[in-house]
């Protein structure tokens, strides 16, 4: 018996059954997916609001993961966004700068909002781009002048 095996396991999710909270959440996801298809209504499930037993979160993630899309954010610490193997079901995990998980959500949507470019950021980007272009134009001008002078 290895040392690790000697440590008592409180993980009631040992075995392959979809027990306890796992199955109800999967049902909830299925209903939400139905609704998304029919009406376009999106849904977000906060995994931290559910009294999960030890190991259940891992079981849910194992059951869902992973599909075709995997995105990484770098916004106030890293975030990981997976499309699960069920299209339209996304797993969003936010970390803080110390890499602790600060939020974990299952989103039933075409694309999680956080991936879309935000209006405010885009308007700042336009300004920034304009500034950079005009700066470039300005810095180009004197140089050509100088060239012609010599």
């Amino acid at each position: 018996m290895s040392e690790e095996a000697a440590i008592p396991q409180f993980n009631i999710q040992i075995g392959n059954d979809l027990t306890w909270n796992v199955q109800p959440i999967l049902h909830e996801i299925r209903h939400a997916l139905d609704k998304l298809l029919e009406t376009g209504e999106t849904r977000v499930i906060d995994l931290r609001s559910i009294p999960l037993a030890p190991g259940e979160e891992d079981r849910i993630i194992d059951t869902l993961c992973c599909g075709e899309v995997h995105a990484k954010l770098n916004a106030l610490g890293p975030s990981e966004i997976y499309e699960t193997r069920f299209a339209g079901v996304w797993l969003v995990t936010h970390h803080n700068e110390e890499n602790d998980i600060i939020g974990r959500f299952i989103e039933i949507t075409r694309i999680p909002d956080i991936l879309k470019s935000q209006h405010e950021d885009m308007s700042i980007a336009v300004h920034q781009l304009e500034n950079e272009l005009s700066e470039a134009a300005e810095s180009n001008k004197p140089e050509t002048d100088a060239e012609t002078n010599t």
Binding site: F10, I12, W20, N21, P51, L76, I101, I102
Partner: protein, 366 residues
């Protein structure tokens, strides 16, 4: 864009933008905040809207008869970067343990904050207040009682952090030598939000402060003044071990098969059924675990008088006194009394029988 505003007058949105925080980051922050405040994810846009406009309130933190465990808990709030953003946007103007200033300078900071933000500042209290002899606990020569009364006067609201401030806690436990009382025993004319726990869950503390910061209102409170979002359901009702309770599977001791299987801890004295807190969902140490998950029954630390609740390891349905003895003595006394009454009855009967005189014809003819 915010050059003309002093730092204190900025909204949270302005503060974040000036720090180069993108809208996307802000949305992530709002999602984590919603999760922290135990609000549904559908509230995220509302929170974003409110946080955008939120202004940093002045916070005065008073520590009375306490062990600093609550502050220790708070500083271990796991969503560090989120909290730091929030605490960047509140002005913690007075906190013994955390502030750099000491002595007169510290007290001056408190007085200045009270004057500048009269009617708007938030008072956070941890620790109970000795109300027998005020001399039991003083700060800078001011008794806790006087400091609370003085500071509460201009407060918008009071948040009590920890069971001591909320309900009296351990100092209030029998025989309560200092005559310790809770904040709500003294302050009657201000909204009080109780955040009990020994200590409270760090994210619950920050969640309540964030609620005030975000919406500028008092959250929905239960009959003990606790925010319903965190204290709305009992540990028992949200416990992942509840199915074992319903099936009748219990750990009988701390090292039996039931304990190893992670069965219900009711028989080991778990106070989950009478305790309201967020431990079962929010959990501790960044969502890692909570006492019951670690195999120890809930001691009910977020309830009033939890220290005098008849023993941490005695199941709720068990009487706190030895009623076996009482019942036996009472039964013996009952038997004695019953026999005595019966015997008296018999004696009366036989006496009546003896005293009975037969009536003869002669008697009737008299």
């Amino acid at each position: 864009m915010t050059k003309d505003l002093s730092r204190k007058d900025r909204t949270l949105g302005e503060t974040l933008r000036s720090q180069g925080v993108s809208r996307r980051s802000f949305l992530k922050f709002c999602a984590a905040t919603a999760s922290m405040m135990a609000l549904p994810p559908s509230m995220i846009p509302t929170i974003a809207n409110a946080l955008e406009k939120a202004r940093r309130p002045s916070v005065i933190w008073l520590s009375f008869q306490e062990c600093t465990g609550c502050t220790e808990s708070l500083t271990r709030a796991h969503t560090a970067s989120v909290e730091s953003l929030i605490f960047d946007s509140i002005s913690l103007d007075y906190h013994h343990t955390l502030q750099a200033a000491a002595g007169h300078a510290a007290e001056a900071a408190r007085e200045a904050a009270m004057e500048e933000n009269h009617g708007k500042y938030l008072v956070v209290v941890d620790g109970s207040i000795p109300n027998g002899n005020n001399g039991y606990s003083t700060i800078a020569g001011i008794s806790n009682y006087d400091m609370l009364i003085e500071t509460a006067k201009g407060a918008a609201a009071i948040v009590t952090v920890g069971t001591c401030a909320a309900f009296g806690g351990i100092p209030h436990a029998k025989p309560n030598p200092t005559g310790a009382v809770s904040v709500s025993d003294i302050i009657k004319d201000k909204p009080i939000i109780n955040v009990p726990g020994c200590p409270p869950i760090p994210v619950v503390i920050t969640g309540v402060l964030t609620h005030f910061l975000t919406f500028g209102t008092i959250p929905d409170l239960d009959n003990l003044g606790r925010p319903k979002t965190f204290f709305g359901q009992s540990i028992h009702d949200r416990c992942y071990r509840r199915p074992f309770y319903d099936k009748g599977l219990f750990a009988e001791t701390f090292d039996d098969e039931g304990a190893r299987q992670g069965w219900c801890l009711y028989k080991l004295g778990c106070k989950g059924p009478t305790t309201y807190n967020a431990c079962a969902t929010t959990k501790w140490n960044g969502g890692v675990s909570f006492p019951i998950e670690a195999g120890h029954p809930c001691i009910g630390c977020s309830e009033p008088n939890f220290w005098d609740g008849g023993g941490f390891y005695k199941a709720i349905s068990i009487p706190t006194e030895n009623i076996t003895k009482t019942t036996m003595y009472a039964a013996a006394a009952g038997v004695a009394a019953g026999v005595a009454i019966g015997a008296t009855g018999r004696m009366k009967k036989s006496a009546a029988g003896k005293a009975h005189q037969k009536v003869t014809i002669d008697d009737l003819e008299k």
